[in-house]
């Protein structure tokens, strides 16, 4: 069984700055993989490279046998990768249903079937009752969830979630975690970036740690959180040495 997503020797350089260095990663079908790292580790950059928003300077990104590195974002999406944005990008003046339909139109040309698919996805995210509310009037929690719904409506094989928890109050996190679990149970592979560690540790089957643009650790949540190099990256060298 080969990996759904394969990153090989991926490098991203901005002028003189090497944001991602010789990065390798395999994501198997059906996994939930968390990508963590301190500020400036290159997580969002890596996401943007996979999703086609940044060009990579070296290496290859393969989805299910097809090269998607350096393809424009819309082609990456058509290949089966859907993403959310760290800073939500709602279609402000569209309703929730309409927003989801934009995603659904990718595989369903006529409005009736796009609507059907969109409603089905909204149902899975417990948002049907909001179908006719304008996206701009949603609360942030719901906007984040709408991002997921929109992406899901494109019927992706791989879902990239970029800090969907950020900005949620502590009480709102578990609800979204359940949603992500159920999406994964529905057969969608999930790769996510997250800062809220408690969330990462409960949901991820595997955690990949990025530090200074390089792979620092890769393992189960428990393994990773005990890894002295990870502790050092988060709290400072001396802390790890002293603790």
């Amino acid at each position: 069984m080969s990996a759904l997503l394969q990153l090989r020797n991926v490098e991203k350089r901005f002028g003189g700055l090497l944001a991602v260095k010789d990065f390798n990663l395999d994501v198997e079908p059906g996994e939930i993989v968390g990508l963590i790292g301190p500020n400036g580790a290159g997580k969002t950059t890596l996401f943007s490279c996979i999703a086609g928003y940044h060009r990579i300077t070296k290496g290859s990104i393969v989805l299910d046998g097809h090269e998607i590195g350096n393809r424009p974002a819309f082609e990456v999406c058509r290949a089966g990768v859907a993403r959310t944005f760290q800073v939500v990008k709602p279609f402000a003046r569209m309703t929730v249903l309409q927003s989801a339909m934009v995603g659904a139109f990718l595989h369903h040309r006529d409005a009736a079937s796009a609507r059907r698919v969109a409603l089905e996805v909204l149902g899975r995210l417990h948002m049907e009752h909001l179908a006719h509310v304008e996206a701009r009037s949603l609360t942030l929690v719901l906007k984040k969830r709408l991002e997921v719904a929109r992406a899901l409506a494109t019927q992706p094989r791989l879902l990239l979630l970029d800090e969907v928890m950020a900005g949620l109050s502590p009480g709102e996190v578990p609800e979204l975690l359940d949603v992500i679990r159920s999406i994964n149970a529905g057969g969608v592979t999930v790769l996510f970036v997250e800062h809220i560690m408690a969330a990462v540790m409960t949901i991820a089957q595997r955690v990949v740690v990025l530090h200074g643009g390089e792979l620092l650790a890769d393992g189960t949540p428990a393994e990773v959180s005990r890894d002295p190099r990870v502790v050092a990256a988060y709290l400072g060298e001396e802390y790890a040495a002293g603790a």
């Binding site: 944005f85 934009v102 796009a114 949603l138 609360t139």
Partner: protein
Amino acid sequence: MRAVKYLLLVLAIVAAAVGPLVTSNSFVRDLWVLVAMWGAVATAWNLIGGYAGGLSLGHAAFFGIGAYTSSLFYLDLHLSPWLGALAGGVVAMLSALVIGFITIRLRGPFFALATLAFAAILGIAATNLTALTHGAEGMTIPFAPGLGHAIFASKLDYYYVALALLLAYVALTWWISVSRFGYYLVAIRENEDAAQALGIDAVRVKLAATLLSAFMTALVGSFYAQYRLFFEPSIFATDISVQIALFAIIGGMGTVWGPLLGAAILVPVTGELQSWLGSSLPGIDAFVYGAILVLAILFVPNGFVSLLRPLFAAKHPPAATQQAAEAEAKT
């Protein structure tokens, strides 16, 4: 609710059909023609400006191309303006392809400036390519009524031609607004990055809308030529482009009926003003236009349609909306 909506629609169409018959006053009939005509152009502009979010200040270019192309074919090659209009539409699409490639990646004000410059270049060309366009002297089409010439003795006939165009455009806009293409345009307008992330090829979709809008605008330009039977290079002027955009903005951009509503309000108001005061106080009409524009953009940025919307709005439970409104009020 739905029934009321359709009833209103039927009433509006009937009113539009018989309205000009009520009067025989030529000035009033002219207003009806102008409302239909500018309503149609503004509806065409709305595809780019309202749905796709590209603030074109150069639609006079397509309007003028339509007028010049059909007139040149008619005068020099005796081609019926009905066909000439189609030719004008094709020429406008070709020019839209060129300007589209230049401007499609520009944002907001820069897109507006580039389209403005494009129309200005055409205006200069029309003034100076005298052999082709008769330069500043303008194009005069001899009055020779006949269906094949698309020249009519009665304003009523012109009115029904314009009304047909207008209804076709409004219907097309409605159809687009509920189809994939329309959803994609709005998605791109609202957030291009997010649209790309959902598999939308934004450049292609925007270009398609530009071509369609250019074609539609050019057809009305040909109509204008046959209606007025005279026009000059000033047809490319920025004022015309601004006016086109203005109708759509005042009425309500990105809505099916907004541009028509804008034209229906502004054309008679300024027409009347001009006829009352135009000779004693030239500029009063433009002054009112400008003042309405500034006030509307600051106080009714979503257009007059947004004021009517509560009358038609379906009743959805506004629970989430209310919450958000409160949050917004706080910020």
